[in-house]
């Protein structure tokens, strides 16, 4: 039954995913187990396949839709059993000021959402204070900023400086990425994490949540 869930996500079939979710519940599978070892496993596979270009973005989006359909059934059941077990980490994500390149950001957003994060996607060309305000409003754990432009990279530095100036740096995990951004540069501006692609973004976010506890 767990395989069925995973495969319905991999094949991007929303109807089958909803069906599999119902079957899992009637078959007595623990809903949290169905999410983690069924759906999430399928999504992880899709993320890795996309990273190797075995599948393309439309397939990833369909997998995410299938995931959503099954979660609509499994999540309420899991919540009923144990309300703390599926607390989602909140991520405020945007393409930073001056930049309208958003394909990469959309991919990261899609994969993070599909992997269980609660995503607040503010879009593109977003001023740094708007990102910070939103993160404060929703009490986010992570601020993720994307850019493809060298002329917008300075705004990432500015954002970290502003957080420090306002005494808020310790409240958030900061992740950066996009074309010209490198791991070395991310470290040099004092960001917590960097990812080469959407798949890595998910992994790094999980790891940072373990390691750096935002407060």
């Amino acid at each position: 039954m767990l395989d069925d869930l995973a495969n319905s996500v991999i094949s991007g079939d929303a109807n089958r995913a909803a069906e599999a979710a119902k079957n899992a519940l009637t078959g007595g599978v623990d809903p949290l187990n169905a999410i983690t070892n069924g759906l999430n496993r399928g999504m992880k596979q899709v993320g890795e396949d996309f990273s190797k270009l075995k599948v393309y973005l439309p397939e990833v989006m369909m997998a995410a839709e299938a995931m959503k359909a099954a979660l609509a059934i499994l999540e309420p059941a899991a919540l009923k059993k144990d309300s703390t077990s599926i607390k989602k980490s909140k991520v405020v994500i945007a393409t930073i000021a001056g930049d309208i390149h958003d394909i990469g950001k959309n991919i990261v957003s899609l994969l993070m959402r599909a992997n269980g994060f609660e995503i607040y996607d503010l879009g593109r060309d977003v001023p740094i204070d708007a990102m910070i305000s939103k993160a404060m409003d929703v009490n986010a754990e992570i601020i993720a900023a994307s850019t493809l432009l060298s002329t917008s990279m300075p705004y990432m530095e500015d954002m970290i400086a502003l957080l420090k100036e306002r005494g808020l740096r310790g409240k958030f995990i900061i992740m950066v990425g996009g074309g010209p951004v490198t791991k070395e540069w991310a470290t040099s501006i004092g960001a917590d994490g960097y990812g080469d692609d959407g798949d890595e973004a998910v992994k790094v976010a999980y790891e940072l949540l373990q390691r750096v506890k935002p407060n």
């Binding site: 270009l53 000021a97 001056g98 060298s150 002329t151 917008s152 010209p180």
Partner: protein, 461 residues
Amino acid sequence: MVTRMQSYRMDDMTKRALEGPYMEEADFDLKLIKRTKEIVKEHGIRFDPQVIIPTDDTMVDEVFNAGRQLLLELGFYCQTTKRIIKLEEWEINQVIRSLPTAWTLGEGKDSVVMHMRRVEDPTPPVIHAGPTGTLTTEGDVYVKTLRSYAQEPSIDSVGAGTLATIDGFRIRKGTPQEYRAAKTLAGWARDAITQAGRPGMHINDVAVVSPEAKICALSPEHGLRPTDGMLVAQMIELKTSLAHLSLIEHMLSYGCFVGNLMTPILGGYSGGPEGTAICTVAEHLAGAVCYNASYHYLSLTNVRNLNGTDRLGLWTISIVGQSLARNSNLMSIYDCYCAAGPGEEMLLREAAAGGVTASVSGMNLMGCGSCGGKLQDHLTGVEARMLKEAGVAAAGMNREEANGFLRQWLPLYEGMVDISKSPKGKTFQELYSLSAAKPNKEWEDKYRKVIGEMAALGIEI
């Protein structure tokens, strides 16, 4: 009356952008994903990794028909107003028919005529060379980098790199420094072609981010002249904005060329090579009708590896080029984006494959980009020379012959096109003597070695 027609069309397009059907952008993307997939099926378009330059004319023509159908169904999306600029079949057909088949680029003795090329055309392609928007160091390095292209005898036009700093000041979008950068870049391009003894050479772009700042580059004295051109980007896939239409309005009245820049993402919203091909045809048509573009830059980008020189990429380029060359007078220019960096034989091999494919497929050339455009100063005139020379050598070759060459050539590098593996090479400063902007022996020797390998496979440069 061409001018009347153009301003009439701009008002008409603006009106549609203001009054067309309203749609959220995410819904437009979803519709594009869905319809692209279906239309590919309806028209029976199939990627064949063994035939990089497709030889089935029926399928080539279907790609054109499918692209036109996609554009008619979806329209061109305006991000500013969230409305769709709807197009009609008759107006697309009218524009396609009314286009000229040659343009004179640049001035006087340094000008060049770029022709509408056809499949297997013996007319040599023209190259728009330069750093294609990649990061370059300001000042003398910038001028010398551009000069390294301009003084290659086979190169016809130079374009621009992007700057990280101006006068040592980090450039941010929408700041005074960005406007200064636009003016300065245009001036430096003039200096570079003048130093190379070709002051009338066509300049094909100034790469700053804001459309408003780009306008600062236009100046007959020390900037871009009406005989030069600039790129106007489309927002992928199939989108534009009022800022872009406004830039075009000014460029058309100034008199310079509008180059429709498309960066379709292979593996993105349009899916695999088949979907990306039809979407790219639609983007060419949108550029001709809505942008009044004189020519079209096809900068295909792989969603992961950022280049366009693998099998998937070259097939897509070829089928788009051929379908336009057989069914229209839309001049498509292949913007060659490579995975490897300068100083590497692999970069020359990628450029050679791109030049051969595009030339046989009826296109002109632009480039080269290297390292997926990620690394500063990783660009030189030598790889652009290779792109052009390979294109010239392949002009007039038939598709079967070219495929025979590519089948032996691609295995030499295709295992390394992965962005994390491809060799990044060296910078312009490391590969050239700065005083005269001349390539060093190491880089010239590699060039000679690679053209020797090509000759052994039947392509003589």
